[in-house]
Point group: none
Chain length 224, copies 2
DNA sequence: CACTTTTTTGACCGTTTCTTGACCTTTATG
DNA sequence: CATAAAGGTCAAGAAACGGTCAAAAAAGTG
Protein backbone atom coordinates (compact mmCIF):
# COMPACT_ATOMS: atom_id res chain seq x y z
CA UNK A 1 0.00 0.00 0.00
CA UNK A 2 1.26 3.45 -0.88
CA UNK A 3 2.36 5.85 1.77
CA UNK A 4 -0.11 8.63 2.38
CA UNK A 5 0.99 12.22 2.60
CA UNK A 6 -1.09 15.11 3.84
CA UNK A 7 -0.17 18.51 2.46
CA UNK A 8 -1.36 21.56 4.34
CA UNK A 9 -0.70 24.85 2.57
CA UNK A 10 -2.88 27.79 1.73
CA UNK A 11 -1.51 28.40 -1.74
CA UNK A 12 -3.55 26.30 -4.17
CA UNK A 13 -0.82 26.40 -6.79
CA UNK A 14 1.83 25.05 -4.51
CA UNK A 15 -0.54 22.45 -3.17
CA UNK A 16 -1.22 21.27 -6.66
CA UNK A 17 2.41 21.24 -7.64
CA UNK A 18 3.44 19.24 -4.61
CA UNK A 19 0.52 16.88 -4.89
CA UNK A 20 1.29 16.11 -8.50
CA UNK A 21 4.94 15.60 -7.85
CA UNK A 22 4.39 13.32 -4.92
CA UNK A 23 1.67 11.37 -6.66
CA UNK A 24 4.13 10.94 -9.49
CA UNK A 25 6.46 9.37 -6.98
CA UNK A 26 3.82 6.92 -5.97
CA UNK A 27 2.43 8.45 -2.83
CA UNK A 28 -1.22 8.81 -1.98
CA UNK A 29 -1.83 12.49 -1.36
CA UNK A 30 -4.45 14.57 0.41
CA UNK A 31 -4.41 18.32 0.55
CA UNK A 32 -5.79 20.84 2.96
CA UNK A 33 -6.00 24.61 2.76
CA UNK A 34 -6.67 25.50 6.35
CA UNK A 35 -6.54 24.15 9.85
CA UNK A 36 -10.01 22.72 9.86
CA UNK A 37 -9.40 20.72 6.74
CA UNK A 38 -6.16 19.39 8.15
CA UNK A 39 -7.81 18.12 11.28
CA UNK A 40 -10.59 16.64 9.23
CA UNK A 41 -8.15 14.76 7.04
CA UNK A 42 -6.25 13.20 9.91
CA UNK A 43 -8.76 10.42 9.62
CA UNK A 44 -7.00 9.34 6.43
CA UNK A 45 -4.12 8.29 8.69
CA UNK A 46 -1.32 10.00 6.81
CA UNK A 47 2.20 8.61 7.12
CA UNK A 48 3.68 12.05 6.92
CA UNK A 49 2.36 15.60 7.10
CA UNK A 50 3.78 18.58 5.25
CA UNK A 51 2.64 21.66 7.08
CA UNK A 52 3.02 25.28 6.10
CA UNK A 53 3.28 27.09 9.39
CA UNK A 54 2.71 30.48 7.86
CA UNK A 55 -0.80 30.00 6.61
CA UNK A 56 -2.71 33.26 7.01
CA UNK A 57 -5.35 33.16 9.67
CA UNK A 58 -3.93 29.99 11.14
CA UNK A 59 -1.70 29.64 14.12
CA UNK A 60 0.66 27.07 12.64
CA UNK A 61 2.28 26.15 15.87
CA UNK A 62 -1.04 25.71 17.57
CA UNK A 63 -2.19 23.56 14.70
CA UNK A 64 0.96 21.52 14.93
CA UNK A 65 0.34 20.81 18.56
CA UNK A 66 -3.23 19.80 17.85
CA UNK A 67 -2.10 17.46 15.12
CA UNK A 68 0.52 16.01 17.39
CA UNK A 69 -2.10 15.27 19.99
CA UNK A 70 -4.13 13.36 17.45
CA UNK A 71 -1.54 11.44 15.44
CA UNK A 72 2.09 10.52 15.80
CA UNK A 73 3.39 10.60 12.26
CA UNK A 74 6.29 12.86 11.32
CA UNK A 75 5.46 16.49 10.64
CA UNK A 76 7.65 18.44 8.25
CA UNK A 77 7.28 22.20 8.25
CA UNK A 78 7.23 24.10 5.03
CA UNK A 79 8.16 27.64 5.69
CA UNK A 80 9.05 30.69 3.71
CA UNK A 81 11.89 31.98 5.73
CA UNK A 82 13.10 30.40 8.77
CA UNK A 83 14.93 32.09 11.50
CA UNK A 84 16.68 30.16 14.17
CA UNK A 85 13.80 31.12 16.40
CA UNK A 86 11.11 29.81 14.10
CA UNK A 87 13.05 26.62 13.76
CA UNK A 88 13.25 26.18 17.43
CA UNK A 89 9.65 27.16 17.99
CA UNK A 90 8.42 24.70 15.43
CA UNK A 91 10.39 21.86 16.80
CA UNK A 92 9.24 22.74 20.23
CA UNK A 93 5.66 22.42 19.13
CA UNK A 94 6.35 18.86 18.12
CA UNK A 95 7.53 19.09 14.51
CA UNK A 96 10.14 16.68 13.32
CA UNK A 97 11.81 18.54 10.52
CA UNK A 98 11.50 21.69 8.48
CA UNK A 99 12.28 22.67 4.95
CA UNK A 100 12.51 26.23 3.72
CA UNK A 101 10.81 27.58 0.66
CA UNK A 102 11.86 27.69 -1.99
CA UNK A 103 13.01 24.11 -2.00
CA UNK A 104 13.67 21.69 -4.78
CA UNK A 105 11.29 18.84 -5.23
CA UNK A 106 14.10 16.35 -5.01
CA UNK A 107 15.14 17.84 -1.71
CA UNK A 108 11.62 17.42 -0.46
CA UNK A 109 11.46 13.85 -1.66
CA UNK A 110 14.73 13.08 0.01
CA UNK A 111 13.49 14.34 3.33
CA UNK A 112 10.22 12.51 3.07
CA UNK A 113 12.04 9.33 2.28
CA UNK A 114 14.39 9.78 5.15
CA UNK A 115 11.51 10.10 7.57
CA UNK A 116 9.59 7.22 6.11
CA UNK A 117 12.67 5.08 6.20
CA UNK A 118 13.26 5.88 9.79
CA UNK A 119 9.71 4.99 10.71
CA UNK A 120 9.64 2.03 8.46
CA UNK A 121 12.63 0.53 10.12
CA UNK A 122 11.04 0.94 13.45
CA UNK A 123 7.72 -0.41 12.33
CA UNK A 124 9.18 -3.36 10.56
CA UNK A 125 11.30 -4.40 13.49
CA UNK A 126 10.48 -7.93 12.80
CA UNK A 127 7.94 -8.35 15.48
CA UNK A 128 6.68 -11.85 15.74
CA UNK A 129 3.11 -12.39 16.65
CA UNK A 130 2.11 -15.58 18.30
CA UNK A 131 -1.15 -17.05 17.27
CA UNK A 132 -3.13 -15.56 20.03
CA UNK A 133 -2.24 -11.91 19.82
CA UNK A 134 0.81 -11.89 21.98
CA UNK A 135 3.42 -9.67 20.37
CA UNK A 136 7.09 -10.21 20.90
CA UNK A 137 9.16 -7.28 19.74
CA UNK A 138 12.55 -8.78 19.08
CA UNK A 139 14.38 -5.54 18.60
CA UNK A 140 12.89 -3.85 21.60
CA UNK A 141 13.10 -7.06 23.57
CA UNK A 142 9.65 -6.72 24.99
CA UNK A 143 6.38 -8.51 25.04
CA UNK A 144 3.06 -6.83 24.43
CA UNK A 145 -0.53 -7.85 24.99
CA UNK A 146 -3.23 -5.56 23.72
CA UNK A 147 -0.75 -2.74 23.44
CA UNK A 148 0.37 -3.12 27.03
CA UNK A 149 3.84 -4.25 27.87
CA UNK A 150 4.17 -7.32 30.03
CA UNK A 151 7.41 -6.89 31.87
CA UNK A 152 9.92 -9.69 31.81
CA UNK A 153 13.46 -9.90 33.04
CA UNK A 154 16.34 -10.52 30.69
CA UNK A 155 16.44 -14.25 31.23
CA UNK A 156 12.70 -14.61 31.15
CA UNK A 157 12.62 -12.74 27.89
CA UNK A 158 15.33 -14.90 26.42
CA UNK A 159 13.40 -18.01 27.21
CA UNK A 160 10.24 -16.61 25.67
CA UNK A 161 12.06 -15.48 22.57
CA UNK A 162 13.66 -18.87 22.19
CA UNK A 163 10.43 -20.77 22.51
CA UNK A 164 8.40 -18.51 20.30
CA UNK A 165 11.03 -18.47 17.60
CA UNK A 166 11.05 -22.24 17.65
CA UNK A 167 7.39 -22.75 18.28
CA UNK A 168 6.00 -26.17 17.57
CA UNK A 169 9.31 -27.72 18.40
CA UNK A 170 9.69 -29.52 21.67
CA UNK A 171 12.76 -28.95 23.77
CA UNK A 172 13.73 -30.78 26.88
CA UNK A 173 15.22 -28.74 29.66
CA UNK A 174 18.77 -29.82 29.02
CA UNK A 175 18.62 -28.65 25.45
CA UNK A 176 16.90 -25.40 26.22
CA UNK A 177 19.48 -24.64 28.83
CA UNK A 178 22.34 -25.26 26.46
CA UNK A 179 20.83 -23.25 23.69
CA UNK A 180 19.77 -20.27 25.75
CA UNK A 181 22.41 -20.05 28.45
CA UNK A 182 25.15 -21.24 26.12
CA UNK A 183 27.05 -24.47 25.92
CA UNK A 184 29.69 -23.33 28.31
CA UNK A 185 27.28 -22.34 31.04
CA UNK A 186 28.22 -24.61 33.87
CA UNK A 187 24.94 -24.52 35.71
CA UNK A 188 22.01 -26.73 36.30
CA UNK A 189 19.33 -27.07 33.68
CA UNK A 190 16.66 -27.23 36.33
CA UNK A 191 16.51 -23.45 36.31
CA UNK A 192 14.39 -23.84 33.24
CA UNK A 193 11.58 -25.20 35.36
CA UNK A 194 11.61 -22.09 37.40
CA UNK A 195 11.66 -19.77 34.43
CA UNK A 196 8.82 -21.57 32.77
CA UNK A 197 6.85 -21.13 35.94
CA UNK A 198 7.53 -17.43 36.18
CA UNK A 199 6.73 -16.85 32.55
CA UNK A 200 3.53 -18.83 32.71
CA UNK A 201 2.46 -16.93 35.75
CA UNK A 202 3.05 -13.51 34.23
CA UNK A 203 1.45 -14.46 30.95
CA UNK A 204 -1.56 -15.99 32.62
CA UNK A 205 -2.03 -12.97 34.79
CA UNK A 206 -1.89 -10.61 31.83
CA UNK A 207 -3.70 -12.60 29.17
CA UNK A 208 -5.62 -15.34 30.91
CA UNK A 209 -4.16 -17.81 28.46
CA UNK A 210 -1.68 -20.65 28.38
CA UNK A 211 1.17 -20.29 25.96
CA UNK A 212 3.70 -22.84 27.10
CA UNK A 213 2.67 -26.42 26.90
CA UNK A 214 4.29 -29.29 28.75
CA UNK A 215 4.77 -32.43 26.74
CA UNK A 216 5.25 -35.07 29.30
CA UNK A 217 8.62 -36.70 29.24
CA UNK A 218 9.73 -34.62 26.26
CA UNK A 219 9.88 -31.02 27.28
CA UNK A 220 8.17 -27.74 26.57
CA UNK A 221 6.62 -26.30 23.48
CA UNK A 222 5.13 -22.93 22.63
CA UNK A 223 1.51 -23.44 21.66
CA UNK A 224 0.79 -22.07 18.24
CA UNK B 1 16.49 4.50 -2.28
CA UNK B 2 17.52 1.55 -0.23
CA UNK B 3 20.80 1.38 1.57
CA UNK B 4 23.30 -0.97 0.02
CA UNK B 5 25.20 -3.50 2.07
CA UNK B 6 28.16 -5.53 0.94
CA UNK B 7 28.68 -8.85 2.69
CA UNK B 8 32.10 -10.47 2.47
CA UNK B 9 32.30 -13.96 3.93
CA UNK B 10 33.60 -17.21 2.59
CA UNK B 11 30.79 -19.37 3.92
CA UNK B 12 28.08 -19.49 1.29
CA UNK B 13 25.44 -20.51 3.81
CA UNK B 14 26.09 -17.62 6.09
CA UNK B 15 26.25 -15.25 3.16
CA UNK B 16 22.89 -16.42 2.02
CA UNK B 17 21.37 -16.22 5.46
CA UNK B 18 22.59 -12.71 6.03
CA UNK B 19 21.66 -11.56 2.57
CA UNK B 20 18.14 -12.85 2.90
CA UNK B 21 17.65 -11.34 6.30
CA UNK B 22 18.96 -7.95 5.28
CA UNK B 23 17.01 -7.93 2.04
CA UNK B 24 13.97 -8.69 4.12
CA UNK B 25 14.72 -5.57 6.06
CA UNK B 26 14.75 -3.55 2.90
CA UNK B 27 18.42 -3.28 2.15
CA UNK B 28 20.03 -3.84 -1.21
CA UNK B 29 22.64 -6.53 -0.73
CA UNK B 30 25.71 -7.71 -2.60
CA UNK B 31 27.80 -10.63 -1.51
CA UNK B 32 31.41 -11.56 -2.05
CA UNK B 33 33.29 -14.72 -1.20
CA UNK B 34 36.86 -13.53 -1.52
CA UNK B 35 38.98 -10.43 -1.61
CA UNK B 36 38.86 -9.98 -5.33
CA UNK B 37 35.11 -10.04 -5.40
CA UNK B 38 34.97 -7.54 -2.61
CA UNK B 39 37.15 -5.05 -4.41
CA UNK B 40 35.18 -5.60 -7.59
CA UNK B 41 31.92 -4.87 -5.83
CA UNK B 42 33.08 -1.62 -4.30
CA UNK B 43 31.81 -0.05 -7.49
CA UNK B 44 28.29 -0.64 -6.23
CA UNK B 45 29.04 2.03 -3.65
CA UNK B 46 27.90 0.19 -0.56
CA UNK B 47 26.74 2.18 2.44
CA UNK B 48 28.14 -0.38 4.81
CA UNK B 49 30.44 -3.39 4.54
CA UNK B 50 30.26 -6.53 6.63
CA UNK B 51 33.65 -8.18 6.47
CA UNK B 52 34.73 -11.56 7.79
CA UNK B 53 38.37 -11.05 8.67
CA UNK B 54 39.08 -14.71 8.97
CA UNK B 55 38.45 -15.77 5.43
CA UNK B 56 40.88 -18.52 4.48
CA UNK B 57 43.51 -17.46 2.01
CA UNK B 58 42.73 -13.80 2.53
CA UNK B 59 44.55 -11.37 4.71
CA UNK B 60 41.52 -9.71 6.21
CA UNK B 61 43.37 -6.77 7.63
CA UNK B 62 45.13 -6.11 4.39
CA UNK B 63 41.83 -6.33 2.59
CA UNK B 64 40.31 -3.93 5.04
CA UNK B 65 43.03 -1.41 4.39
CA UNK B 66 42.56 -1.73 0.66
CA UNK B 67 38.84 -1.21 1.01
CA UNK B 68 39.42 1.75 3.21
CA UNK B 69 41.64 3.32 0.59
CA UNK B 70 38.91 2.99 -1.97
CA UNK B 71 35.73 3.88 -0.08
CA UNK B 72 34.86 5.55 3.16
CA UNK B 73 31.76 3.72 4.34
CA UNK B 74 31.69 1.98 7.72
CA UNK B 75 33.23 -1.47 7.91
CA UNK B 76 31.91 -3.95 10.47
CA UNK B 77 34.00 -7.01 11.16
CA UNK B 78 32.41 -10.37 11.51
CA UNK B 79 34.70 -12.55 13.50
CA UNK B 80 34.65 -15.84 15.30
CA UNK B 81 36.48 -14.80 18.41
CA UNK B 82 38.10 -11.52 19.06
CA UNK B 83 40.99 -10.87 21.30
CA UNK B 84 42.06 -7.47 22.44
CA UNK B 85 44.85 -7.64 19.92
CA UNK B 86 42.57 -8.51 17.04
CA UNK B 87 40.35 -5.66 18.01
CA UNK B 88 43.12 -3.13 18.01
CA UNK B 89 44.62 -4.45 14.82
CA UNK B 90 41.30 -4.39 13.07
CA UNK B 91 40.68 -0.87 14.14
CA UNK B 92 44.08 0.23 13.02
CA UNK B 93 43.36 -1.25 9.66
CA UNK B 94 40.32 0.97 9.41
CA UNK B 95 37.41 -1.03 10.79
CA UNK B 96 34.61 0.75 12.58
CA UNK B 97 32.96 -1.96 14.60
CA UNK B 98 33.07 -5.68 15.11
CA UNK B 99 30.53 -8.29 15.95
CA UNK B 100 31.48 -11.74 17.14
CA UNK B 101 29.99 -14.90 15.73
CA UNK B 102 27.61 -16.25 16.60
CA UNK B 103 25.45 -13.16 16.70
CA UNK B 104 21.73 -12.74 16.51
CA UNK B 105 20.27 -11.20 13.40
CA UNK B 106 18.51 -8.52 15.36
CA UNK B 107 21.80 -7.63 16.98
CA UNK B 108 23.37 -7.26 13.57
CA UNK B 109 20.52 -5.12 12.31
CA UNK B 110 20.78 -2.89 15.30
CA UNK B 111 24.46 -2.31 14.71
CA UNK B 112 23.96 -1.61 11.05
CA UNK B 113 21.30 0.90 11.85
CA UNK B 114 23.40 2.65 14.40
CA UNK B 115 26.11 3.18 11.81
CA UNK B 116 23.74 4.21 9.08
CA UNK B 117 22.07 6.77 11.26
CA UNK B 118 25.34 8.32 12.08
CA UNK B 119 26.18 8.58 8.41
CA UNK B 120 22.76 9.60 7.31
CA UNK B 121 22.94 12.62 9.48
CA UNK B 122 26.08 13.80 7.77
CA UNK B 123 24.81 13.06 4.32
CA UNK B 124 21.61 14.96 4.83
CA UNK B 125 23.31 17.65 6.79
CA UNK B 126 20.55 17.22 9.24
CA UNK B 127 21.32 19.74 11.84
CA UNK B 128 18.57 19.58 14.37
CA UNK B 129 16.85 16.75 16.10
CA UNK B 130 14.00 17.09 18.48
CA UNK B 131 12.40 14.78 20.93
CA UNK B 132 9.40 15.73 23.01
CA UNK B 133 10.31 19.37 22.83
CA UNK B 134 13.94 18.90 23.62
CA UNK B 135 16.06 20.25 20.83
CA UNK B 136 19.48 18.96 19.97
CA UNK B 137 21.44 21.19 17.66
CA UNK B 138 23.92 18.82 16.08
CA UNK B 139 25.91 21.49 14.37
CA UNK B 140 26.26 23.62 17.43
CA UNK B 141 26.44 20.60 19.71
CA UNK B 142 23.97 22.22 22.04
CA UNK B 143 20.79 21.16 23.74
CA UNK B 144 17.86 23.51 24.11
CA UNK B 145 14.64 23.50 26.09
CA UNK B 146 12.14 26.25 25.56
CA UNK B 147 14.76 28.32 23.86
CA UNK B 148 17.15 28.04 26.74
CA UNK B 149 20.37 26.17 26.44
CA UNK B 150 21.00 23.37 28.88
CA UNK B 151 24.73 23.19 29.28
CA UNK B 152 26.44 19.86 28.86
CA UNK B 153 30.06 18.90 28.71
CA UNK B 154 31.56 17.32 25.63
CA UNK B 155 31.14 13.75 26.81
CA UNK B 156 27.71 14.37 28.20
CA UNK B 157 26.67 15.81 24.89
CA UNK B 158 28.06 12.87 22.99
CA UNK B 159 26.07 10.45 25.07
CA UNK B 160 22.88 12.43 24.54
CA UNK B 161 23.44 12.69 20.84
CA UNK B 162 24.10 9.00 20.55
CA UNK B 163 21.00 8.00 22.43
CA UNK B 164 18.70 10.43 20.72
CA UNK B 165 19.95 9.45 17.30
CA UNK B 166 19.23 5.84 18.12
CA UNK B 167 16.14 6.43 20.12
CA UNK B 168 14.02 3.47 21.03
CA UNK B 169 16.93 1.13 20.76
CA UNK B 170 18.37 -0.39 23.87
CA UNK B 171 22.09 -0.30 24.44
CA UNK B 172 23.89 -1.92 27.29
CA UNK B 173 26.73 0.00 28.81
CA UNK B 174 29.41 -1.99 27.11
CA UNK B 175 28.05 -1.23 23.69
CA UNK B 176 27.41 2.40 24.39
CA UNK B 177 30.92 2.76 25.60
CA UNK B 178 32.36 1.12 22.52
CA UNK B 179 30.27 3.12 20.14
CA UNK B 180 30.71 6.49 21.78
CA UNK B 181 34.21 6.35 23.20
CA UNK B 182 35.43 4.20 20.34
CA UNK B 183 36.38 0.57 20.24
CA UNK B 184 39.95 1.23 21.09
CA UNK B 185 39.20 3.14 24.25
CA UNK B 186 40.78 1.02 26.89
CA UNK B 187 38.61 2.18 29.74
CA UNK B 188 35.82 0.91 31.82
CA UNK B 189 32.28 1.02 30.55
CA UNK B 190 31.03 1.87 34.00
CA UNK B 191 31.59 5.52 33.23
CA UNK B 192 28.36 5.33 31.34
CA UNK B 193 26.48 5.00 34.61
CA UNK B 194 27.94 8.23 35.78
CA UNK B 195 27.17 10.08 32.58
CA UNK B 196 23.62 8.85 32.50
CA UNK B 197 23.24 10.13 36.02
CA UNK B 198 24.61 13.56 35.21
CA UNK B 199 22.53 13.88 32.08
CA UNK B 200 19.35 12.78 33.83
CA UNK B 201 19.97 15.24 36.57
CA UNK B 202 20.48 18.18 34.27
CA UNK B 203 17.57 17.28 32.04
CA UNK B 204 15.23 16.73 34.95
CA UNK B 205 16.22 20.00 36.49
CA UNK B 206 15.60 21.89 33.28
CA UNK B 207 12.58 20.10 31.87
CA UNK B 208 10.99 18.13 34.66
CA UNK B 209 10.89 15.14 32.32
CA UNK B 210 12.55 11.78 32.05
CA UNK B 211 14.23 11.10 28.76
CA UNK B 212 16.50 8.17 29.48
CA UNK B 213 14.86 4.96 30.48
CA UNK B 214 16.54 2.06 32.22
CA UNK B 215 15.63 -1.38 31.04
CA UNK B 216 16.82 -3.64 33.78
CA UNK B 217 19.52 -6.06 32.77
CA UNK B 218 19.47 -4.80 29.20
CA UNK B 219 20.59 -1.21 29.14
CA UNK B 220 19.40 2.30 28.49
CA UNK B 221 17.02 3.69 25.94
CA UNK B 222 15.98 7.20 24.94
CA UNK B 223 12.26 7.53 25.32
CA UNK B 224 10.65 8.73 22.16
C1' DC C 1 52.36 27.22 37.03
C1' DA C 2 48.05 27.65 39.73
C1' DC C 3 43.43 27.19 39.03
C1' DT C 4 39.16 25.50 37.16
C1' DT C 5 36.55 22.23 34.75
C1' DT C 6 35.84 17.77 33.08
C1' DT C 7 36.58 12.90 33.02
C1' DT C 8 37.34 8.73 35.20
C1' DT C 9 37.65 5.64 39.02
C1' DG C 10 36.40 3.13 43.15
C1' DA C 11 33.55 2.15 46.85
C1' DC C 12 29.08 1.67 48.89
C1' DC C 13 24.24 0.46 49.17
C1' DG C 14 19.71 -0.85 48.11
C1' DT C 15 17.18 -3.42 44.69
C1' DT C 16 16.25 -6.75 41.29
C1' DT C 17 17.18 -10.89 39.34
C1' DC C 18 19.17 -15.49 39.18
C1' DT C 19 19.89 -19.80 41.05
C1' DT C 20 19.48 -23.47 44.24
C1' DG C 21 17.53 -27.00 47.09
C1' DA C 22 13.79 -28.81 49.53
C1' DC C 23 9.32 -30.34 49.11
C1' DC C 24 4.87 -31.21 46.82
C1' DT C 25 1.94 -32.90 42.82
C1' DT C 26 1.06 -35.37 38.72
C1' DT C 27 1.70 -39.06 35.48
C1' DA C 28 3.09 -43.54 33.67
C1' DT C 29 3.59 -48.24 34.59
C1' DG C 30 3.78 -52.78 36.58
C1' DC D 1 -2.47 -49.03 44.28
C1' DA D 2 2.38 -48.54 44.93
C1' DT D 3 6.25 -46.64 43.10
C1' DA D 4 9.44 -44.09 40.45
C1' DA D 5 10.29 -40.46 37.56
C1' DA D 6 8.98 -36.06 35.80
C1' DG D 7 7.09 -31.73 36.53
C1' DG D 8 5.54 -27.82 39.65
C1' DT D 9 5.93 -24.65 43.61
C1' DC D 10 8.08 -21.98 47.04
C1' DA D 11 11.32 -19.52 49.77
C1' DA D 12 15.76 -17.90 50.57
C1' DG D 13 20.63 -17.02 49.69
C1' DA D 14 23.88 -15.56 46.07
C1' DA D 15 25.01 -12.80 42.45
C1' DA D 16 24.45 -9.09 39.37
C1' DC D 17 22.92 -4.57 38.48
C1' DG D 18 22.03 0.26 38.78
C1' DG D 19 22.20 4.64 41.40
C1' DT D 20 24.93 7.71 44.12
C1' DC D 21 28.74 10.06 45.96
C1' DA D 22 33.29 11.68 46.64
C1' DA D 23 37.74 11.96 45.33
C1' DA D 24 41.58 11.17 42.21
C1' DA D 25 43.33 11.94 37.60
C1' DA D 26 43.45 14.36 33.45
C1' DA D 27 42.59 18.13 30.50
C1' DG D 28 41.87 22.81 29.63
C1' DT D 29 42.73 27.92 30.76
C1' DG D 30 44.51 32.28 32.06
Amino acid sequence: MAYRILIADDEPMLRKLLAEHLEGEGYAVNTAGDGGEVMGLLGTRPDIILLDINMPGVDGLRLCRDIRDAVSCPIIFLTARISEEDKVMGLRAGGDDYITKPFSLSELSARIEAHLRRDERQRREESIISSRGLIVDLRGRRVLWEGQEIRFTKREYEVIEFLIMNRNQIFDRERMYELIWGLDAGGDSRVIKEYVRKIRQKLLEATGKEFIETVWGMGYRWKR
